[in-house]
Symmetry: C2
Subunit: 334 residues, 2 copies
């Protein structure tokens, strides 16, 4: 990791070298997910869209990458003391599964309104789950207290160099596959919560394709990354709004992720709930993929014409598929 010069220089920002090291560490431990292209989607938008299908990653989202990369760097005493994480569900599953495979005890702090499927799956991976109220309690404080009591290591969901480097391995794979296809993408369009996946993949894709433009997509009311990039400094979300995109309900872009995205000249846009639901239904009908709402915001942006891809090549993330049956049915019926 190299020091970063500027306003956010208090920490070591990960680089492409860290992403490459993570890829070596993760080899054989995570699924090398396919980069899919779909004729119906291409015809709908008039360009070439390449979908990095992290829905097909083990645990149903990209989060296993970062969690495994972080847990593989624990020392023996840390492994024994275990890990604590807070997450609405995908990071929870990623940490729980990585911990299960590596024999590390895991405690996960989840919001009481987390999708039932995500809670059940997290418990299924052997983790202890503790609930909190998203509107009134601070998950960071709860996790820090638990970590203090148990001597456990907190595994952040995005704002950590090892997590960012791990998520970036998805971008590295996409870059390899695009190079093999002879395609130099014009655009990288990423779902964005705290920016772990977006910043890690940006490192990998900008290394392979220096001219690529980076667009972050967020749900309406959670466009803190877009506003932060416009302002040139990190801004929190304003207030609380319900959203189907639980995976992207982060209060602020990360201190480690923001400088990477800023340096890449990324910009942000947001999509409405209705646009997201239509994208989930499109993925069902045309892509034959189960994508959760928070995993479908980039697809929604492209389908709604909010990112113009006509006559262009774009790579975008389908970041997760952990959606409750009820929510999925609601999207299909919309």
């Amino acid at each position: 990791m190299s020091g970063f010069v500027g306003a956010e220089a208090f920490c070591d920002i990960p680089t492409i070298a860290d992403v490459r090291l993570a890829a070596e560490r993760l080899r054989g431990r995570v699924v090398r997910t396919p980069l899919l292209e779909n004729a119906a989607l291409n015809e709908a938008v008039g360009g070439r869209v390449f979908l990095k299908a992290e829905t097909l990653q083990e645990t149903g989202s990209f989060k296993l990458r970062g969690a495994t990369n972080r847990l593989l760097q624990l020392d023996d005493s840390q492994r024994r003391a275990g890990v604590v994480a807070f997450s609405s569900g995908n990071h929870a599953q990623g940490v729980a599964r990585a911990a299960q495979v590596l024999g590390v005890p895991a405690t996960i702090v989840m919001p009481s309104d987390a999708p039932a499927l995500k809670v059940a799956r997290t418990k299924g991976y052997g983790a202890e789950v503790i609930f909190y109220d998203r509107a009134t309690e601070s998950r960071e404080e709860i996790a820090a207290r638990l970590a203090g009591e148990r001597g456990a290591v907190v595994v952040p969901s995005f704002d950590d160099p090892a997590i960012i480097a791990g998520q970036g391995t998805a971008g590295l794979e996409a870059a390899e596959d695009l190079a093999r296809l002879g395609v130099a993408p014009d655009l990288f369009i990423s779902n964005c919560g705290g920016g772990g996946l977006a910043s890690g993949c940006t490192l990998a894709l900008r290394e392979a394709f220096p001219g690529i433009r980076v667009v972050l997509v967020e749900p309406e009311h959670y466009d803190d990354a877009g506003r932060s990039l416009l302002a040139g400094e990190r801004l929190p979300i304003e207030g609380y709004a319900p959203t189907l995109c639980d995976a992207l309900q982060t209060p602020m872009i990360g201190a480690y992720t923001f400088p990477i995205l800023k340096a890449a000249g990324a910009r942000g846009i947001f999509v409405t709930e209705a646009e997201v639901m239509r994208a989930v239904a499109f993925a069902f009908r045309e892509l034959k993929l189960v994508v959760e709402p928070g995993g479908a915001v980039s697809l929604a942006a492209v389908l709604a014409g909010k990112v113009e891809v006509r006559d262009k090549a774009a790579v975008l993330t389908l970041s997760g598929g952990n959606v409750d049956t009820e929510t999925f049915i609601r999207c299909l019926s919309a």
Copy 2:
């Protein structure tokens, strides 16, 4: 194609050479679909299961392979006169899309109870759709009459050497991917209607892995392939029963497909509607894939323990994902 010695020797049965020629013809014209492995599935069955995800093929099923291989072998006057096909939906879409891409007029004869999604998609590819009553009319006669009137070529849905060879390219890809992984599968488990996909893939997989055992999976009441293999001769289904597996509702295994399956020592089993619905729900929940009931019978057989894969490696087909929203919701709620 080589002549086949035996009771069914009235025709040229395709060989692995035909599958290889088809693969050359299809390069760049069909999606090279991923071979997926899923930890939750492996853990559920205690073995390694490799899923050939033809759900991710263009048109949502493997049928584009055979149709394209067949249409590429039309001469100029045949191309102008057009093609006729009869199909409940997946072959319809495959032929319609292949015809659209190659600029050939297509007429598709579909049962009046075909899933609405499949009808809409077939029309969406520019084909003319003509309906018939599955219980009282003969689709073969209707198609033959239309072909006679219009001078068009009938494209059979499975019982044709070019169709079989085309579908076999899915098996060729699976064999390549398995070899790359260093896995020699013990079992090939195939969804089976008329046997086009099953026989084509059997040619490819037995060439690569001579010891592989072939198991065909059919829906209850449509186990004609299994009974035919036991009897050593082709037997039709008995009576008509409603099934969610519209894609596998064929009256009899093919004259071209049966000898290939028989020579491979294939055996057949069947699954119930309830087992199929649970497999569709499992694919939604764990695989994050949309699989239609007829595309999920092999998965159903493995999950129900009807094919034992403990401590074995098996490759199976997820052959299609064209399922109506209502049927899909019904499966998720089962």
